[in-house]
């Protein structure tokens, strides 16, 4: 029964990454472990079903007596033509009823009726599995199992598997684990697939301590030890929760148990680093893989490129495209999209457009995600017209917009006063069902409102004149922060002037206000970052002091590790790593801190 060859494992893995670049959750091992057994057997059944000329939707009502009548009519019609019904035919009948039946018990009764009315029918495991796969509660499963053992069909490992899956399908995880334990006591241990399936489901929705408890319990009751796949699932889960220390401990434990990490596990670890915004570390993992003689696959390279792009090392990521080709893997859409994402983050949206051309020349078709990344990057990078081109390409190909690029596009359109086009995009987003009506409308309304607010407060693009006169009103903190927020998004020059002004007046407190104000409208954070970016290389300690303070206040007001925008803000503030600020726990800063990550980690752990 369904073990996948390693090549298939990774091939399947590829899928989640295709959606990765904007939602940075790359490949999860969860998708890889195992095909759905019940499904394949179902397919087989429906095939045979067809050979018996029985339409699958034979049962219209969920009433048991109707079903019995239909079955009797069916039996009498076939017995007239002297065809003995096989088990498969019975299974097919049973299955089509179980799909409409409201209570799995009814299916059982029908099964009993079938047994009674046609003596040639001897139900085997597959018959009961049909019933089991529709069970939606522990009691129903128990009843079916009892029924099975009464009629001389003791449960098998595959039975356990199907029961567990049907329970998990309705999120009855605790019940499923109870079932596994009780069956294990009855000498029907779950097989590896069931075990890993259960662990994976637990990892997805329960806390990690619950998962450990489950593993412990299964070890004592069913003598089941975690294997390499289990460890991979666990490491993936802790990495998704950003608990790197635990992941490292698991890695140690895994080596102690005598397992050798495979390519797949390394991919998971790399992905973990990506989630933690420590994309550089992927190179270290990659080198280690090569040292240990494990052959990297396409997913490895995709993760590598993704991780490097995410932390802004686009050039390095680009180098790996050539390395990939040397190793016999050709960059695919995912690779290019990750790279484009990196370029857009760096504000080089036009490079990303060039890359799109290069990609198409090489015969690699862009997908929705590629265009969405480009659209997002172009709009943020003030190339609205190019962005609209991309939008029209997407529209002509009937591609869906994602929420982020949709809202950014609307904002930028509204800002440029192209309200009609914004309405048009709004219509398209609704028609293509890319975002819900409510979300689409909320974004439209808030973008328009925001623009109206701007107009009412008489701000004109790039006019720093008002700001110059602002010296007359020696404003309060609130006044400053309000203006900073507004200017940051509309005219960077004015924002610069304000930053200087505030620094001169030594109004330290207002940075906190600003950060709080900005937090309200998170989308503008990075624009604000972009506004002050030009000053990053400024050697004036006062300005740097100001930045350090914005930074620390931002840290204090936002949970930085979870906020993409503040990440961008900090990146912008610290400049392109030529001058980096290191904020220690007291909120002062020292120059020359090496990596942004150490800043983030340092202040985070200090809190």
């Amino acid at each position: 029964m369904g073990k996948l060859p390693p090549s298939l494992r990774t091939a399947k893995l590829d899928f989640p990454l295709t959606r990765a670049p904007l939602v940075p959750q790359s490949p999860s091992p969860s998708h890889a472990a195992k095909p759905l057994k019940p499904k394949s057997s179902k397919n087989r059944k429906t095939n045979k079903n067809a050979s018996h000329s029985l339409p699958p939707a034979i049962f219209k009502s969920s009433s048991l007596s109707d079903a019995k009548k239909i079955f009797d009519a069916f039996v009498s019609s076939t017995s007239a033509s002297n065809v003995a019904l096989s088990i498969a035919a019975h299974n097919a009948v049973l299955q089509s009823f179980s799909l409409v039946a409201t209570d799995p018990r009814d299916t059982l009764y029908l099964l009993q009726h079938m047994r009674d009315s046609s003596p040639s029918f001897d139900p085997d495991h597959s018959t009961y599995h049909v019933v089991l796969s529709q069970c939606r509660s522990l009691s129903a499963v128990d009843e079916t199992l009892e029924f099975m053992s009464c009629y001389g069909c003791p449960p098998q490992p595959s039975t356990v598997d199907i029961a567990v899956r049907s329970l998990c399908a309705v999120d009855l995880l605790e019940e499923a684990s109870e079932l596994v334990k009780s069956l294990a006591l009855r000498d029907v241990p779950p097989d590896r697939f069931t075990y890993n399936f259960l662990v994976r489901r637990f990892c997805k929705t329960r806390s990690i301590s619950t998962v450990y408890q489950l593993i412990d319990e299964l070890q004592t009751t069913a003598k089941l030890k975690p294997d390499l796949v289990t460890y991979t699932i666990l490491i993936d889960a802790v990495c998704n929760n950003k608990n790197l220390r635990e992941a490292m401990r698991l890695l140690e434990e895994l080596r102690r148990m005598g397992f050798k990490p495979d390519c797949f596990l390394y991919n998971t670890i790399m992905k973990g680093y990506c989630v933690l915004d420590r994309g550089e570390e992927t190179i270290v993992v990659y080198k280690k893989m090569l040292e240990e003689g494990i052959k990297p696959d396409l997913v490895t390279y995709n993760t590598l490129v993704f991780g490097l792009s995410k932390v802004g090392r686009v050039e390095k990521a680009r180098e790996f495209l050539d390395v990939m080709v040397e190793m016999g893997h050709f960059p695919d859409t995912v690779t290019y999209t990750s790279l484009m994402n990196g370029m857009c983050r760096k504000g080089k949206a036009l490079d990303a457009v060039n890359l799109l051309k290069e990609m198409e020349e090489k015969g690699c078709a862009p997908n929705e995600c590629t265009y969405a990344t480009l659209l997002h990057g172009l709009c943020k990078g003030k190339h609205l017209d190019k962005g609209m081109e991309v939008y029209h390409i997407m529209k002509s190909n009937n591609m869906k917009l994602d929420v982020t690029s949709y809202s950014v596009l609307l904002r930028v359109l509204c800002r440029d006063g192209r309200i009609a086009e914004a309405y048009e995009v709004f219509d398209y987003a609704r028609d293509s069902k890319s975002v819900t009506e409510v979300a689409a409308y909320t974004v439209l309304e808030s973008s328009i409102k925001w623009v109206q607010k701007m107009k009412n407060s008489d701000i004109h693009f790039g006019s720093s004149r008002i700001l110059e006169s602002s010296g007359m009103i020696k404003g309060s903190q609130k006044w400053y922060s309000m203006w900073l927020v507004r200017c940051a998004t509309r005219c960077p020059d004015a924002a610069h002037a304000l930053v200087e002004d505030v620094t001169q007046r030594n109004k330290r407190e207002c940075w906190g206000c600003t950060a709080t104000e900005l937090k309200k409208d998170e989308n503008d954070m990075d624009v604000f970052g972009g506004g002050t970016k030009g000053r990053a290389s400024h050697s004036d300690p006062q300005v740097n002091w100001a930045k350090g303070n914005v930074f620390s206040f931002t840290l204090a007001t936002l949970n930085l590790r979870q906020s993409e925008s503040s990440h961008v803000l900090v990146l912008a503030l610290t400049g392109n790593s030529s001058i980096s600020l290191l904020v220690d726990s007291k909120g002062t800063f020292t120059r020359g801190g090496r990596e942004l990550n150490s800043v983030v980690n340092g202040s985070d752990s200090a809190r």
Partner: protein, 100 residues
Amino acid sequence: MLPQKLRKAVADNPKKVADLIDLHNLPSTLREFLGQSQSSPLSCFIRVWSYIKTNNLQDPNDKNVVKCDDKLKSILLGKSKVELAELPYLVKLHFPKQSK
């Protein structure tokens, strides 16, 4: 992880969502326009916008401006020209916040 956040922001605010999709009893002017006695702010807005589109009421020189016909005038405060940017606000006026 902005997209998740945004999605969360909408999902986290069930009240806002409810405000948009709850059915309200319509005032007589709107009832005439929509031809139904109950509607939600959201669907009302979409109806008004699609009415503008189907009747080509946008100013061909400046797409951002809508030239109201008589029917539209009746529900949009009697203005003869409405900017698209005002539209959500104007439609919303018909749906006062319900005090509990």
